[in-house]
């Protein structure tokens, strides 16, 4: 499971960084999205990977992190997802404004000289 998750995070982050460095605004926003997915998975994994641990308090189980999944990273991920989503939406707005004003989808607002 560790291998699968770390591979997933690595592939997402790698693709994200590559797309982030591309010259088209659409590629940049896709890169940013992939990067935020990778980061969210990463935060989640910082609560340690475990199987069959209770997420919510139940009677008869000692209330410590040995017997429960760590709730903290889940709360962090939730916040990070919401903020990341809002920021990506805002970036989309700026992207469209830039496309409309400059007539090109190049990140610098002008095509490179040939």
């Amino acid at each position: 499971m560790e291998l699968v998750l770390s591979l997933a995070i690595g592939v997402l982050a790698g693709s994200g960084v590559w797309l982030l460095l591309r010259p088209r605004t659409f590629q940049v926003i896709m890169g940013l999205s992939l990067l935020s997915y990778a980061v969210n998975l990463f935060i989640f994994s910082m609560g340690r990977l475990a199987i069959d641990k209770e997420p919510v308090l139940v009677g008869g189980v000692p209330a410590d992190l040995l017997h429960y999944a760590d709730p903290m990273p889940q709360a962090l991920v939730l916040t990070a997802i919401v903020i990341g989503f809002a920021m990506t939406a805002l970036f989309l707005g700026v992207l469209l404004a830039s496309r409309g004003l400059s007539g090109t989808d190049h990140v610098d607002g002008a095509e490179e000289a040939p």
């Binding site: 982030l20 940013l32 916040t79 990070a80 830039s98």
Partner: protein, 567 residues
């Protein structure tokens, strides 16, 4: 006075966050037709915020040298579990600075620029809320949230007024900051994974107990976090976004943005001194060398950028980068006297940069006969110069025939010129204004690492000599650039109408410069405060103890079971 302040604490700590939030919420209820009201609310909220910040500063300074630390538990959970807000000397100082710059920019905006788009005033207040929150919070993830509030508002403010240059710079600015936010999250999550806490004070306690096997992971986490903050603080090579963004932002927004890099510096200073103090064992002063090298490189980059700038907006932006580099390099020594001098310089350089960005707008409009950007500059040409770098018509470069004597200088022109001179003195650190005092304090501390009165006790390190040379050299380069800009704008160009200044535009510039004059006149008490702040930063135990021992407010007693509940 002190009794009243003590009564207000610790609730006063919450005011710098709540006040802008409520003001912004109130303004959202008003439609854009009531812009005058919004402006009034904005200015009133800024003024009240300044009052609250000054009250916090006075309170923090009441107890003498070590200073008091106000801790507020917003959710009434004890320290490592709930979010804490902490107001100590450094936070209070930064709050006062933010409120001063905010008030001046808000006043400047009502003259003209708030009409360039919608929702200027609510965004302005939200930006202040994010900045104040970042200065106050004692929790790493809460810091992230306040950073995002600050950034979200700054995106809106940067795009205020629209237009192609702003959208273009905004696109880069948003992309850079989204990437930096991802790094922030990675770093914070790693720190949580290693130490199991996000409370800064608790982190400081846990750092020494991290096992040797996890030490590398801890350092990686700190380094990733630092990269995110360095991008905000405009350290080279993470600062190429800054000059286009600040140069194209509308003037009051630029005036406020002068604060943003200082938020990055503040965060670095706070976390670095808290997590990696001299007694942190294997992690003591971790990353200090990188801060130094990054700071020196930023200093060189900023100074060269100033020399190459033709427009006032770019000149101001590179001035901000220079000041960031100076601060990073000076703080990285972790030396009491040097940190104190750097804090003084931080105050002076932020006020000066803000004043200069506001002033640049007035001067540019005067030069372009009312337009913010001259038609010939839309193609990217430098002001006063044609594409082949020949001076344009109307520029008297001394080798021409016309004498410039015998003309009366109108008061508005004189005001602009004097303000420009003031900014020049402050940004380059020349006497007699406060920029010089800050630089002088840093140079003294560099040459006397043990403090004055211990001559020859310790040799001056090579890095200190390098910083000293760069500080003096960058001042010279900045002076050359500012003098050239001044000659072109005020002496050589003629046949222009008298500038028209609104009171709301002249007043903030004058007030910011007057604040610098006040810093100069009151240099003794301010420097004493800065020194005490530096001392407190070098000994973070008091901060940790204050946070960890903060007591929750007890619940009100439950009503007796037989009490009659009215129907």
């Amino acid at each position: 006075m002190s009794g009243l302040l003590s009564q207000l604490m610790p609730n006063l700590v919450m005011v710098p966050i709540l006040l802008p939030m409520l003001a912004a919420a109130l303004m959202l209820l008003l439609s854009e037709r009531h812009r005058a009201w919004k402006g009034a609310i904005n200015i009133a909220a800024c003024a009240l915020g300044l009052l609250a910040a000054v009250a916090l500063l006075l309170w923090a300074d009441l107890g003498g040298a070590p200073g008091r630390i106000g801790v507020y538990l917003p959710a009434n959970w004890p320290a490592p579990f709930g979010i804490v807000l902490v107001a100590d000397r450094l936070s209070a100082l930064m709050l006062v600075l933010a409120a001063t710059v905010g008030l001046a920019s808000a006043l400047f905006s009502v003259a003209r620029w708030d009409k360039a788009g919608v929702h200027f005033h609510p965004l302005f207040q939200l930006q202040l809320m994010g900045i104040n929150g970042a200065f106050l919070t004692g929790d790493l993830f809460n810091l992230f949230v306040f950073f995002e509030i600050m950034l979200a508002a700054s995106y809106g403010l940067l795009l205020h007024g629209s237009g192609r240059p702003r959208v273009q710079a905004g696109l880069h600015y948003v992309a850079i900051n989204l990437a930096a936010s991802s790094l922030f999250l990675v770093g914070a999550a790693l720190l949580y994974g290693v130490t199991g806490t996000l409370n800064m004070a608790d982190l400081a306690r846990q750092i020494t107990q991290v096992s040797a096997a996890d030490r590398g992971l801890l350092h990686a986490a700190a380094a990733i976090l630092a990269v995110a903050f360095l991008a905000k603080a405009a350290a080279w090579p993470l600062n190429f976004w800054l000059a286009p963004a600040y140069g194209s932002a509308t003037a009051p927004v630029g005036g406020l943005f002068a604060l943003l890099t200082k938020v990055g510096i503040y965060t670095l200073l706070r976390l670095w001194t808290l997590l990696f103090p001299a007694d942190a064992g294997a992690s003591a002063h971790f990353g200090g060398d990188w801060l130094l090298y990054g700071g020196l490189a930023t200093l060189v980059f900023g100074a060269l950028g100033m020399l190459g700038s033709q427009r006032l907006g770019n000149l101001a932006s590179f001035g901000i980068i220079t000041s960031s580099g100076t601060l990073l390099a000076a703080l990285s020594f972790g030396q009491r006297a040097l940190t104190g001098g750097a804090l003084f310089y931080l105050l002076s350089s932020t006020l000066a940069a803000s004043a200069f960005l506001l002033l640049a707008d007035l001067v540019e409009r005067w030069r372009n006969a009312g337009a913010s950007v001259a038609p010939h500059e839309a193609a990217g040409d430098a002001p006063f110069l044609s594409p082949d770098l020949e001076p344009q018509e109307g520029l008297n470069l001394d080798d021409d025939e016309e004498a410039l004597i015998g003309k009366a200088i109108p008061a508005a022109t004189a005001f602009l010129g004097l303000a420009f001179m003031g900014c020049t003195l402050l940004i380059t650190g020349l006497p007699p204004l406060s920029g010089f005092i800050g630089k002088f304090a840093m140079l003294t501390a560099l040459l006397n690492p043990q403090g004055l009165g211990h001559p020859g006790a310790a040799p001056v390190a090579a890095s200190a000599w390098v910083l000293l040379a760069l500080l003096v050299g960058s001042g010279l380069l900045g002076l050359i650039a500012m003098t050239r800009a001044g000659i072109r704008h005020f002496w050589a160009a003629h046949d222009r109408a008298v500038p028209r200044l609104a009171l709301a535009e002249g007043l903030p510039v004058a007030a910011l410069l007057a604040a610098c004059v006040l810093l100069t006149v009151q240099a003794g008490p301010v420097m004493r405060y800065a020194q005490a702040t530096a001392d407190a930063l070098q000994a973070p135990t008091a901060y940790v103890q204050a946070v960890m021992s903060a007591r929750t407010v007890p619940n009100p007693p439950a009503p007796a079971p037989d009490a009659k509940v009215p129907p």
